[in-house]
Symmetry: C2
Subunit: 222 residues, 2 copies
DNA sequence: AAATACTTTTAGGCTTGTCTAAAAATAAGA
DNA sequence: TCTTATTTTTAGACAAGCCTAAAAGTATTT
């Protein structure tokens, strides 16, 4: 089995990401959106990847990964997230700077390298954005997390992840000093637009928009 | 200035390597040999790189890097060697396993990444094979090193580098426990074929062929 | 159901990077 | 110097990946 090109790997990851979130076939347009390319290019590539047995593809009804494609994609996600941990924990990048670099590092081909990196980082289970890192067998550690807006008034929780990883969003969180591990308690909800007033780390009150809160994952605490 | 493809970068490095060693224009064949490709492909690429102002190229008389090409190549060498240090020092790879991986890592584009890696590794001046690592400005640390066979009988020295980095050679050195930093003293030279008998770390006598000794760089000591 | 909007595919073209085979240039040997 | 060997370039082809424009298919409105 000869290895994939970077382009092929990126397509696999895109199909994986769409299937993971919506649990449905990845549409041509959705893939094009993620990879910043055209629908025409995507059609082209889907045909080729289907030919290689990495995904199922029927014209006009999108693509889903095969077993083999899914394994490869999972391994890419593993590599991507491990590199992100390395960049933040070891090289002290901030969490909004690492995605682009990991996007390149994930394509370096060496299983030994990833094994050793994993060991060096002490087998982390989550990346800097709170996303789970699959182990070498492809198993994800699942976590009982919910979107922040699902909490009732008075409930306490710990922020464990972000739904979106855009630079703008992450920088905003830095600014309001809201990082992973932060303790929050919902103080008040403005029903008009979903704005939330929350207590942060038992020492500060902040107000965040619905747009922000729905992109935060938390784990309830007592 | 838009960035180079991996192929282009590899060609620049090849031209650099040839020019560095022999201090002459890189021939089409020599480049093809290093990059494991055909002379035809090399001719093609040299034309394109010359068009981009990265090297001087005249038909039938090889290529030499321009100032700009030289800067880019030096930076690639820096990246390659820093990654090799990372792989050996941080991830504990052995020195014969790192070249291939660094060959890929060197193409990751992020100046910030290399800066931080350099800092994390404490700005090493030499890579695991004893080759100098240029600093961010492109300056190499030069060292007064000579090939082992140039020592006179009785002279003492420290092994500081290898000329060749083939897996076979490095594994052989591991086997005879000859690593960088080893102290050697020349005991005897067999003029017939240049075989050397040397004392290793003041506690062992070993015999090495001329082929081996000419690939070892040493620094004389008193 | 027909019209309109949107999505997806096809057709055709371009660049990059490779190859083999043949031609041309240079170097080496007689 | 002339001939032969070697090196290098050119010619022509191909796969991967991308693009734009046009055609075809699907979904949504009216
Ligand atoms: Mn990528
Ligand atoms: Mn991430
Ligand atoms: Mn390389
Ligand atoms: Mn090296």
């Amino acid at each position: 089995m000869e290895s994939l090109t970077q382009a092929e790997e990126n397509y696999l990851k895109a199909v994986f990401k769409i299937g993971e979130k919506d649990n449905k076939a990845a549409s041509t347009n959705a893939i094009a959106g993620i990879l910043n390319t055209t629908a025409a290019s995507v059609s082209d590539m889907l045909k080729r990847l289907a030919g290689k047995g990495l995904l199922h593809y029927e014209k006009h009804r999108g693509a889903t990964l095969t077993e083999k494609g899914s394994e490869l994609a999972t391994n890419l996600v593993r590599k991507h997230r491990l590199w992100e941990v390395f960049l933040v924990k070891t090289l002290h990048f901030s969490w909004d700077e690492v995605h682009e670099i990991a996007e390149q590092l994930e394509h370096v081909q060496s299983d030994e390298l990833i094994d050793r990196l994993d060991f060096f980082l002490e087998k982390p289970q989550f990346d800097p954005h709170g996303d789970p890192i699959p182990d070498a067998q492809g198993n994800f550690t699942m976590r009982r997390q919910v979107p922040l807006p699902s909490l009732a008034i008075g409930e306490r929780a710990v922020v464990v992840g972000v739904q979106e990883s855009s630079v703008a969003f992450l920088k905003y969180l830095d600014k309001i000093k809201l990082e992973l591990g932060a303790r929050v308690q919902v103080l008040e909800r403005f029903e008009y637009d979903g704005t939330l007033k929350i207590e942060l780390n038992s020492n500060e009150e902040i107000t965040i928009s619905h747009k922000v809160s729905e992109n935060l994952f938390v784990q309830k605490t007592k």
